[in-house]
Amino acid sequence: MNVVRNAVHNALRPALRSRPYATYVPPASLKEVGPGQRPWLSSRQPPESPNFYTGRAEYYDSLNDLETSIQHTRAALTSLQLLPLPAFARAAIPPAQHVWQTKQDIIQRMRMTLSTTRYRRLIKLLNQLDQYRRIADVAGVDVLTERIEGVLSVFEKPNKEAILAHGKKKPVAFDDYGRTYTIGRRKTSTARVWTIAVQRPPEEPVEEQNADGQTADEEVLPQMESTVVSAIEYIPPKPVKVTSTNIVINNRPLVEYFPQLADRERVILPFKIAGLVGAYNVFSIVRGGGSTGQSGAISLGIAKALAAHVPDVEPLLQKAKLLRRDPRMVERKKTNRRKARAAVRRPCFHRLRRY
C-alpha cells in the first residue's frame, strides 16, 4: 500500500508543482491541514522507532539490539580467536546461571502482550549472549564482559543474587560498628548472638621529657644516676592491659543467667579453643528449651561469629565440632512403649531352680 502511494506521490510531484489545480482534494480532508501545507506531508513527527509499524516496537527494538550485540560480540571474540572454542575450552566455561525476567515481568515492563513464542525467541538470544559473556569472562576480556553485562542486566531479575544464593551459606555480614549477628540452635533453643571486638585502650603516649619543660614554680630534683652494675641487661616487661570477655544473655550477665558451671563452660569453650578469650564481647537473646539447649545454642552462635571475625580459627573450631549444629533432638514416644525406648513390661522368665 505504501509502495503504491509513494509511486503515485513521486509521479505527481513535478505535475503538482506546475498545476496546483490538477489534484482535487475534498474540503473535509483539509480541515486539519494548515495553509500552505501539503496534505499528505502531515505535521506529525516521524515515529521514534523504525519498528513502529510492527505494532510491537519495543519488543522488536530489543530483539534487534540483542542481535546487533550478538553480531558485534561474535566479531570481537572471533578477532580475539576465542571463537570457535575447542572442546576442552568449552568444558572450562562455567555453566549458565541466569535468572531472566519472566514473561509477565516483560509484559509489565513493555506494556504490551507477549506470546510464549516471542518470549522464547527473546530468551534464546539472551542465552546466546550470556554464553559469549561467560567466554569473555573466562578469557579475561573485562571490557567486553562489562558491556555485555550492561546489556543483559536489563533482562535480569533485580533479586538475581538472592535467588542464586538460595540454599547456600550466606557469609556473615558486619555492620557499621563491626558487629556480627549470628544465630545458633540446639534442641529447641534459638540464640541470637551479636559479637563485637573489645576496644583496646589506646597506648599511653610516652611522656616527653623536655629539658626546658619546667615552669618557674617547679624545681627539678637532681636526677640520680643509677650506680648498679649488672652483668645482664634486664628490661622489665611492660605490664599488659588485660581485657576480659563480657557476655550478656537476656540482659543478665553469664554468671547470673547460667548458675551451673557446665553451662558456662560450654558458652566459653569456643573462645578457649580459638584462643580469643578477652578479645570479643557478646550480647545474646536466647529463647526456648532448657539450660543445656540454650547454652549449646549460644555456643554455636559464638563459634560462627568467631569464624567470621577471625577466619584463621575456623579450622580449629571445625575440628572441635563447635561449628556443627547438633542434630540430636528429643526422640518421640512410640506406641506400646513408656517412652521413646523404655518398654512397658520387663520380660521376666520364671525358671525352676535345678538342684
Binding site: 588485660v242 576480659s244 570477655t245 563480657n246 557476655i247 550477665p253 553469664l254 554468671v255 547470673e256 558451671l261 557446665a262 558456662r264 563452660e265 558458652v267 566459653i268 573462645f271 578457649k272 584462643g275 578469650v277 578477652g278
Partner: protein, 467 residues
C-alpha cells in the same frame, strides 16, 4: 533489785546438745583424711534378742553420745604415706602478713595472710562458712585486698573518733561478691588497731533455732544462755588485754554471786563464762559498760545481719514464730544498728547473707538501704513498723560484684602456688601434673564475670575439665 533467780521462768526450752554446732576446728589445716572418733570399732554390735516372735518390738535405740571433739579431724601427715596424698610436695604459702600498717592504695590487689596469733580474732570468733571452706584447703588463711577494702578501712579509721550512731553500715551485693570476706578483713583490721571487737560470723545461728533459749520475764525477751556464754568466752580471748583496762561502774548481781563495782571487766566476763545461767545478763551488762566508755572504740560486726530483721525459726509455747527482735542478742544488735543505743566511739557493721532462702533481706531493710525491693511491691505491701524503726539510718556499703583482673590474678596465683588446682594437666615424666596457665585464668574469669565465689569455688575448684 530482786534477784534474778526468782524472776526466771520455771520451764525452759532446751535443744539436745547433739544438735549444737561443733566448735571450730583449728585453722590452717591442709587436705586431710577424715577420721571419725567413733569409727575404730573392733567388735561387731550385739543384736538384741527378739523374744516375741509374732511382733518383734523395736530394739531400744542406742543413745548417741554428744561429740566432745569436732567430727572433722584430719589425720596427721606422717600417716599419709600413699603417693596420691603427695605429702612430699606440700607447700606452705609465704605471703606478707595482714597488718593495718601496710594498708594503702598500693596494696590493692595483693594477697595478705592473716596472722597466726593465739588470740587472733578470726581464730576465736570463727569465720563464715564460705571462708572456712577455703581455709580448710589453703595452707594459710589469706585474702586479697580490694579497692573496696581500702575504702572500708578508711571509713573505719574515721569512725574510731565518732559515735557508732554515725557509722552504721550494711555490706550488700549479689551472692558471692565477697561481703563476708570484707567483713572478716574489717574485723581483723579493727582488732589489730586496738579496737574492742565483737564479731558474730554466723548470724543465722542466732535465729535458726539451733541453740537453747529461755524466756525472761524481766527483760521480756528470749535469752540464749549457751550462745551468750560462748560469745563471752570468745570475746574474752580476743579483747582481754583491753577489757583489763576498763572497770565496771555499778555492782552486778548474778545468780550465786555478785560482781562488785569497780572490778575489771575481765572479771565480769569470766563470771559469765563460768556459769552459763549468768551469761545472758553478763553479756548485756558488758555491752552497756562498753557503750559508756570512750577509751577504746568498739566494733560490733555481724554477718547475715539481715536475719535479725524478721522472723526467727524459734517457736513460742503457742507454736507461733518468734520475731528475731524478741530474742535478747538479736535485739541488742538491732538496738545498736538502729542507733537507739550507741558506743561513744565505734561502728556497727553488718553483712547481708544470701545463702539461706528462709532469711532473705526484708522489704523494710531494702527500702532503708535504697536497694531495689526483692519482688515487685507497691504501697499496699505490709511493712512492720518495728522493723522500719530498727532499719532507719542504716547505710548501704555496696560491694562490687566484679573483681578487677589484677585482684583475680593475685587470687589465682595463691591457689596455683598452693598446688590446689587440678586443671591444666600436662604429662611430665609419665605423670600428669597440673600446670595452670593464663588460659585457665582467663576462661574462669570470663565464666565468673569477675564474681569471686564463682571464680574460685564454683570455677577453679569445681571444674571437671583437666585441659
Amino acid at each position: 533489785m530482786p534477784s534474778l533467780a526468782t524472776t526466771r521462768c520455771s520451764f525452759r526450752f532446751t535443744v539436745p546438745l547433739s544438735r549444737s554446732r561443733p566448735c571450730l576446728p583449728p585453722i590452717g589445716q591442709t587436705r586431710g583424711y577424715v577420721v571419725r572418733p567413733g569409727d575404730t570399732r573392733k567388735t561387731a554390735l550385739k543384736t538384741p534378742q527378739i523374744r516375741n516372735s509374732f511382733k518383734a518390738k523395736h530394739a531400744p535405740a542406742s543413745k548417741k553420745k554428744a561429740f566432745a571433739t569436732p567430727p572433722y579431724t584430719p589425720m596427721p601427715t606422717n600417716q599419709l604415706t600413699k603417693s596420691i596424698f603427695k605429702t612430699g610436695e606440700r607447700v606452705e604459702l609465704e605471703l606478707p602478713t595482714f597488718s593495718p600498717k601496710v594498708m594503702n592504695d598500693d596494696s590493692v590487689g595483693r594477697v595478705l595472710a592473716f596472722p597466726k596469733a593465739k588470740n587472733e580474732a578470726m581464730r576465736a570468733f570463727g569465720v563464715p562458712e564460705s571462708a572456712l571452706h577455703d581455709f580448710r584447703i589453703l595452707s594459710r588463711p589469706c585474702s586479697v585486698v580490694r579497692d573496696v577494702t581500702i575504702s572500708t578501712f578508711n571509713v573505719l579509721d574515721a569512725a574510731g573518733q565518732k559515735s557508732s550512731r554515725d557509722t552504721r553500715l550494711m555490706m550488700t551485693g549479689p551472692t558471692g561478691c565477697g561481703k563476708s570476706y570484707l567483713l572478716l578483713q574489717t574485723v581483723e583490721y579493727a582488732a589489730h588497731s586496738d579496737w574492742i571487737v565483737l564479731y558474730i560470723p554466723r548470724g543465722l545461728s542466732l535465729v535458726d533455732s539451733s541453740r537453747d533459749y529461755a524466756y525472761d520475764l524481766r527483760t521480756q525477751t528470749y535469752l540464749q544462755p549457751e550462745f551468750s556464754a560462748q560469745l563471752l568466752r570468745r570475746f574474752l580471748s580476743v579483747n582481754e588485754r583491753l577489757t583489763n583496762m576498763l572497770k565496771t561502774r555499778e555492782q552486778v548481781p548474778l545468780q550465786g554471786r555478785s560482781v562488785p563495782a569497780g572490778s575489771r571487766l575481765t572479771a565480769l566476763v569470766k563470771a559469765g563464762v563460768d556459769d552459763v545461767n549468768n551469761a545472758p545478763v553478763v553479756l548485756s551488762v558488758l555491752i552497756d559498760e562498753l557503750s559508756q566508755q570512750s577509751t577504746h572504740p568498739v566494733l560490733l560486726a555481724v554477718d547475715d545481719m539481715q536475719a535479725m530483721y524478721g522472723y526467727s525459726m524459734y517457736r513460742d509455747p503457742h507454736y507461733r514464730q518468734i520475731m528475731a527482735q524478741h530474742l535478747a542478742i538479736p535485739r541488742m544488735i538491732l538496738q545498736y544498728a538502729s542507733g537507739k543505743k550507741a558506743f561513744p566511739r565505734g561502728a556497727v557493721i553488718g553483712a547481708a547473707g544470701t545463702q539461706h532462702t528462709a532469711f532473705k533481706m526484708p522489704l523494710e531493710l531494702c527500702e532503708a538501704l535504697g536497694l531495689p525491693p526483692p519482688r515487685s511491691t507497691g504501697p499496699y505491701a505490709k511493712r512492720s513498723s518495728d522493723i522500719v524503726d530498727f532499719a532507719r539510718g542504716l547505710q548501704n556499703l555496696p560491694v562490687s560484684p566484679r573483681m578487677s583482673v589484677s585482684e583475680a590474678a593475685s587470687l589465682f596465683e595463691v591457689w596455683m602456688q598452693d598446688n590446689a588446682l587440678h586443671t591444666g594437666q600436662v604429662r611430665v615424666d609419665d605423670e600428669l601434673r597440673s600446670m595452670p596457665n593464663d588460659e585457665l585464668f582467663m576462661t574462669k574469669y570470663a565464666e565468673a564475670d569477675g564474681n569471686p565465689r564463682a571464680f574460685v569455688r564454683n570455677g577453679l575448684l569445681a571444674t571437671q575439665s583437666t585441659i
